[in-house]
C-alpha cells in the first residue's frame, strides 16, 4: 500500500481538500459495469466493413498488383490501392506536434506503391457489405513480388554495401553529446568498465486492438471515431486524404490502453479514404494478429558503455554508443533516440562525456513510441553498468551511486540544470528498506538475489516542439462543473485528474464534475496523450481555467458579502467567509447571480510549456525537457539454477511524484508500469526472423499474467517541486523505467554473472551459469 515519505524536506504545499485523496475515478464505474463504449463497439446504419491487404514480404518490388477480381466480388463496395490515392504519406511533423526532424523521402506511404519494406506493410484497402466478404476479397487480390535482398540487423545495415532502405543511407537519425573531455576523463580513471547491453522489440499488447468507424456528414466532414492518443492527427489525416484540415473530425473514445502504440496513426487514414470514396460509414477493427503486425514496436537497442571510475567511486568520464533498430520506416525514431541519448548516462554527474547514437533502418517491423520512449532502454544499460562498476570496485551499489548522483541545481548530461527535487538516495534507501531481508531457502539450487535501479525520465515534451494545451472550465447554474479538454484518456486517469483539479479549485465534489474530452473539433485542443505530459500540460491549463472561473465567482460573492475576495473561499458547493463560515451562499445561487449580471462563467485557458530552440545535434548542450521524475525500484528474485527459471518474489517502486493528485491512480501507475518493466526484463520479446514476426499472438508474445508478478509496493514521495499542477511531476512513463534494470541487477546478484541481453529467459540463465562454471 501507499506509504508517505518520512522526514523529507517538504515544501509548503497549499491545503487541499480533494487532491491527494483516494477518490473513485470519474470514469471508473462506467467501465466497471460495462457501459463505456470503446472504438470497436460503435456501429452505424448502412455501415461497410474494411480490411487491409498487407505485404507478406519484408523487402520486395511490387511487379504486379491486380485487384480486379476483388472489385468484382458481389458485396465489395470499393478496393483502393496506391494508384487511387493523392500520393498520401504518413506525415506527422506538424508545428506543435514534433520538430521537423524526419529525413525527407523516408516517411511511410499510406499504401505501398512500388515496393514494400516490411512484412505487414499496407498495400490495398477493401470495404464490403460484411466482414466475411471483405475477408474473401483480400484473398482475390493478386500480387506478384520481385523479392529484393533485405537487411534485418542494424549492425549489418550500417555496413557499406548493405541494401539501402531509404536513400541516401540507412542511418535515419543520429545525435551526439560532447561534454568536457571524455578521453581525458577515461585517462584519469583508476578502472575502466566496458559492457554492451541489448534489448529486443516489444509489443504494447494493449488488450484493445486498434479500431474505428468513419462517416461523412452533411458538411462533407470526415468523422472518425477511433481510439487514439493523438486527436490532432486530424491535420495529417486531412493532408493524406487530400481535404482541408477543417474537413476531418476525430472523435476520440476511451482507449483500451495505448502505451505509445496508439500515438502514431493506425486505422484513421484508411477509414477516411474508404468513407470518402464510398460515402458510407465504414468500420475497421484489427484482429490481434494484425495489430501486432501493423503497429509500431519498442526499439531494440544495442548500448555500449565505457566508463572510467576512480577507486573512490567517482566517475571520471564515459563514452556511450547507442544503436537502435528503427525498422522499415522512421516514425518517431529520431526522438526516441534523442530521449535515449539525453538519459544515456542516467541520473549521474559525468563531466566528461561522449555519446554517439544512431537509429538504423532495416526491413524489420517499424519501431516508434513506447512508454519510456528510449529512456527505458537507456536505463536498462546504465543501471546494469553501475552495478558492474560497483562489482569491479568491490563497492556497495548504492554507495557508488550516491557518490555520483546528480543533485538539485546540477547540470545533467546535456548541460540542462535540474531545478526540481532529486531524491534518488532517499528513494533507493526506502525501496531497499521495504524489500527487507532476503528470503532464505533450503534448496541449494535456488539462488535468491536483490537488486535495484534508480532512473530519470522526462515528463512533458521536447521544448523545441513548442508544446501547448488548452482546457475549458465552466460552472452551470445549479453549481455543477463542466470540463472540456481535448486530452485523450488512455486509461491512466487523465480525464479524472482534470476533473479533480477543477473540483479542488471550485469547491465542489468530484461527482459534480462532468468532462468532455478527446475531440478534435468540439473540445479545445490539448495536445497528445504521450510523453507523460497530460497532467503537466492539460492539468496546468485546467488549473488556469478553473482559477479564472473562481475569480469571477469570488468577485461576485465579495460584492454580495461586502467582503474582499481574499477573505472568501469555495468548498462543499458553497462560497463562505473564511473567518465566519456560517455566512455562506450556495454555488448554485452564486452562479445564478453571476448569470443575471451577464458575467463570464466559462473560461478557456492555454498553457504553454517553456519553449527552447533546437539544440545542435553535434553536441546537444542546452535545455530539452521541462523537468524530470527521479525514481527507484527494488526487486528480489529467486533463480532456479536447474531450470533457469526466475521468480520475482518482491517488488517495490519508490517515486517522487511531486504531488499525488490521486494516490490510488499513482499507485496504479507504479504497479502497472513496473509490471511492464518486469515483463520487459523476463519474458517479453517480439521475435523477428528475417523480417517475419514469429510471435503474432498473445500466446506467443507473452506478457505477465497475475501469476507472474508479486504485488509491487508503491512508495509515493511528494516533494512538491514538479512543474505540474500543485507541484506534481509525471509518473506514467517513470513508473516503468527502473523496473527492468532492477530485475536484471537482482538476477545478476542471485547467480553471480551478468546476462547482457533481455529478456532473461531460462535458456539465457542456464547458458550464463554454464559460462560461469567453465570460467
Amino acid at each position: 500500500m501507499t506509504a508517505k515519505g518520512k522526514a523529507l524536506p517538504r515544501l509548503d504545499l497549499p491545503p487541499l481538500r480533494q487532491v491527494g485523496r483516494p477518490l473513485r475515478r470519474v470514469d471508473a464505474l462506467g467501465k466497471a459495469v460495462g457501459t463505456t463504449v470503446y472504438a470497436g463497439d460503435f456501429t452505424m446504419p448502412d455501415m461497410l466493413h474494411a480490411k487491409v491487404f498487407r505485404s507478406s514480404e519484408p523487402s520486395a518490388h511490387i511487379k504486379q498488383l491486380n485487384v480486379n477480381k476483388a472489385r468484382a466480388l458481389p458485396g465489395v463496395a470499393c478496393v483502393l490501392t496506391a494508384d487511387d490515392l493523392p500520393d498520401g504519406k504518413l506525415i506527422t511533423d506538424m508545428p506543435g506536434q514534433t520538430g521537423q526532424e524526419r529525413r525527407k523521402e523516408s516517411d511511410a506511404p499510406v499504401l505501398a506503391a512500388r515496393g514494400v519494406r516490411f512484412v505487414g506493410e499496407p498495400i490495398a484497402l477493401v470495404a464490403a457489405e460484411t466482414l466475411a466478404i471483405a475477408e474473401q476479397a483480400l484473398k482475390l487480390i493478386e500480387i506478384e513480388y520481385e523479392v529484393l535482398p533485405g537487411v534485418f540487423d542494424p549492425l549489418e545495415a550500417i555496413k557499406p554495401g548493405a541494401p539501402i532502405i531509404h536513400k541516401p543511407d540507412n542511418i535515419v537519425a543520429s545525435w551526439k553529446i560532447r561534454k568536457g573531455n571524455a578521453e581525458a576523463g577515461l585517462a584519469a580513471a583508476d578502472l575502466i568498465v566496458e559492457n554492451t547491453f541489448r534489448v529486443p522489440f516489444i509489443d504494447h499488447a494493449y488488450i484493445e486492438p486498434e479500431a474505428g468507424v468513419a462517416w461523412m456528414d452533411d458538411q462533407d466532414v470526415i468523422n472518425i471515431r477511433v481510439c487514439t492518443q493523438v486527436v490532432e492527427h486530424f491535420r495529417s489525416i486531412a493532408q493524406a486524404v487530400g481535404v482541408p484540415h477543417n474537413k476531418v473530425h476525430v472523435r476520440g473514445t476511451m482507449i483500451g490502453g495505448g502505451f505509445g502504440g496508439k500515438e502514431d496513426i493506425t486505422v484513421e487514414i484508411f477509414l477516411a479514404l474508404l468513407t470518402k470514396e464510398t460515402r458510407r460509414p465504414v468500420r475497421l477493427a484489427y484482429t490481434r494478429e494484425e495489430s501486432i503486425l501493423a503497429h509500431s514496436k519498442r526499439h531494440p537497442f544495442i548500448i555500449t558503455h565505457r566508463t572510467g571510475v576512480k577507486n573512490n567511486g567517482r566517475i571520471t568520464g564515459a563514452k556511450i554508443n547507442m544503436i537502435s533498430d528503427s525498422g522499415a520506416y522512421p516514425y518517431l525514431s529520431p526522438y526516441v533516440l534523442l530521449y535515449a541519448t539525453v538519459t544515456s548516462c542516467g541520473p549521474y554527474r559525468i563531466d566528461n562525456l561522449t555519446v554517439d547514437s544512431v537509429s538504423v533502418a532495416t526491413n524489420n517491423p517499424f519501431a516508434s513510441a513506447f512508454r519510456g520512449f528510449g529512456g527505458a532502454q537507456a536505463a536498462v544499460a546504465y543501471e546494469q553498468q553501475m552495478d558492474e562498476m560497483a562489482k569491479a570496485l568491490a563497492m556497495d551499489p548504492l554507495e557508488l551511486r550516491k557518490i555520483n548522483y546528480l543533485k538539485t541545481g546540477d547540470f545533467n548530461a546535456i548541460g540542462q540544470q535540474i531545478k526540481s527535487a532529486i531524491w534518488l538516495e532517499e528513494e533507493a534507501t526506502q525501496a531497499l528498506a521495504a524489500l527487507g531481508k532476503k528470503e532464505s531457502v533450503s534448496d541449494d539450487a535456488i539462488k535468491i538475489g536483490q537488486g535495484f535501479a534508480t532512473t530519470m525520465q522526462s515528463y512533458g515534451r521536447i521544448m523545441w516542439f513548442h508544446d501547448t494545451s488548452r482546457s475549458w472550465v465552466g460552472i452551470e447554474q445549479d453549481g455543477t462543473i463542466v470540463v472540456r479538454c481535448g486530452a485523450p484518456d488512455l486509461g491512466a486517469g487523465q480525464a479524472n485528474s482534470l476533473c479533480l483539479i477543477a473540483a479542488e479549485v471550485l469547491g465542489v465534489s468530484l461527482t459534480d464534475v462532468t468532462f468532455y474530452n478527446s475531440d478534435s473539433a468540439v473540445t479545445p485542443l490539448a495536445g497528445t496523450t504521450t510523453a507523460t505530459r497530460q497532467l503537466y500540460m492539460s492539468g496546468n491549463a485546467t488549473l488556469k481555467a478553473a482559477k479564472m472561473v473562481r475569480e469571477v465567482l469570488l468577485d461576485r460573492a465579495a460584492q454580495h458579502f461586502r467582503e474582499k475576495p481574499n477573505n472568501l473561499d469555495l468548498a462543499d458547493n458553497k462560497v463562505f467567509i473564511k473567518s465566519d463560515p456560517q455566512q455562506w451562499l450556495s454555488l448554485a445561487d452564486l452562479s445564478k447571480m453571476c448569470a443575471v449580471d451577464g458575467l463570464k462563467l466559462q473560461h478557456l485557458a492555454l498553457f504553454a510549456a517553456p519553449f527552447a530552440d533546437k539544440l545542435n545535434p553535434e553536441n546537444l548542450q542546452g535545455d530539452i525537457f521541462p523537468d524530470f521524475t527521479f525514481s527507484a525500484h527494488a526487486i528480489e528474485v529467486a533463480v532456479d539454477t536447474k531450470t533457469g527459471e526466475i521468480t520475482v518474489l518482491k517488488s517495490v517502486g519508490c517515486h517522487d511524484v511531486g504531488r499525488a493528485i490521486n494516490p490510488i491512480a499513482v499507485e496504479g501507475q507504479i504497479q502497472g508500469g513496473s509490471a511492464q518493466g518486469i515483463g520487459y526484463a523476463l519474458m517479453e520479446e517480439v521475435q523477428v526472423r528475417d523480417g517475419v514476426t514469429r510471435t503474432p499472438s498473445l500466446s506467443e508474445f507473452l506478457i505477465p499474467t497475475a501469476k507472474d508478478l508479486p504485488t509491487t509496493r508503491a512508495i509515493i514521495l511528494e516533494s512538491g517541486t514538479g512543474v505540474g499542477p500543485f507541484g506534481a511531476k509525471g509518473i506514467g512513463e517513470p513508473a516503468l523505467t527502473p523496473a527492468a534494470p532492477a530485475v536484471a541487477n537482482a538476477v545478476a546478484n542471485a547467480i553471480g554473472v551478468r546476462i547482457h541481453n533481455l529478456p532473461l529467459t531460462p535458456e539465457r540463465v542456464l547458458a550464463a551459469l554454464d559460462r560461469a562454471k567453465r570460467g
Partner: protein, 161 residues
Amino acid sequence: MKAKAITLNVNGRRHQVTLFPNVTLLEALRDLNYTDVKNGCEKGDCGACAVELNGRIINSCLVLAWQADGARILTNAGLGTMESPHPLQEAFADAGAVQCGYCTSGMIIAAKALLDENPNPSETEIREAISGNLCRCTGYSQIINAVQMTAEKMMQQKAQE
C-alpha cells in the same frame, strides 16, 4: 453450411437469431450489442470475452453460438448497472482496479466465478482464478484488492443476514 435459428438467453433477455455454424458466441453477443464482452484476441489468450454460460465461466471466442443455444448467458453488464452496481463492479471502481477498463468485464466475470465457488479466497487463489485474463494496465494488484474487498463485504453481509 446452413444457418440455423437459435435462442440466446442473455442477461435475462431472450434473443432469437439465425446464425451460421461458424459464428462464435463472442461475435453473436457483440452483434446483439452486448459490447461489454470484448474482443481482445479471438483465440482464448486474453479473457476479455469471458462470460458465464450456464453458470460456468468460458471465453466466448472459443465457443460457437450454436453451442449456446438455449443456454443461460451472463455478461458483466448483466450483473449490475450504474444505478445499482454489483459489489464487484463497485469494488473494482473504488480500488483502482479499472484503468483502461478493456479487461474489466472479463475480469469481473472471472472474479465472480471464483467468489461463487470460494467466498473467501487467498491471494494465490485469486491470482490463479484471474490468470487467464490479461491486463496490461494495472499489474493486477488493485484487481486483487477489489476481489478481496468484495469477498469481505459479501461475507459480512452474509453474517448479518
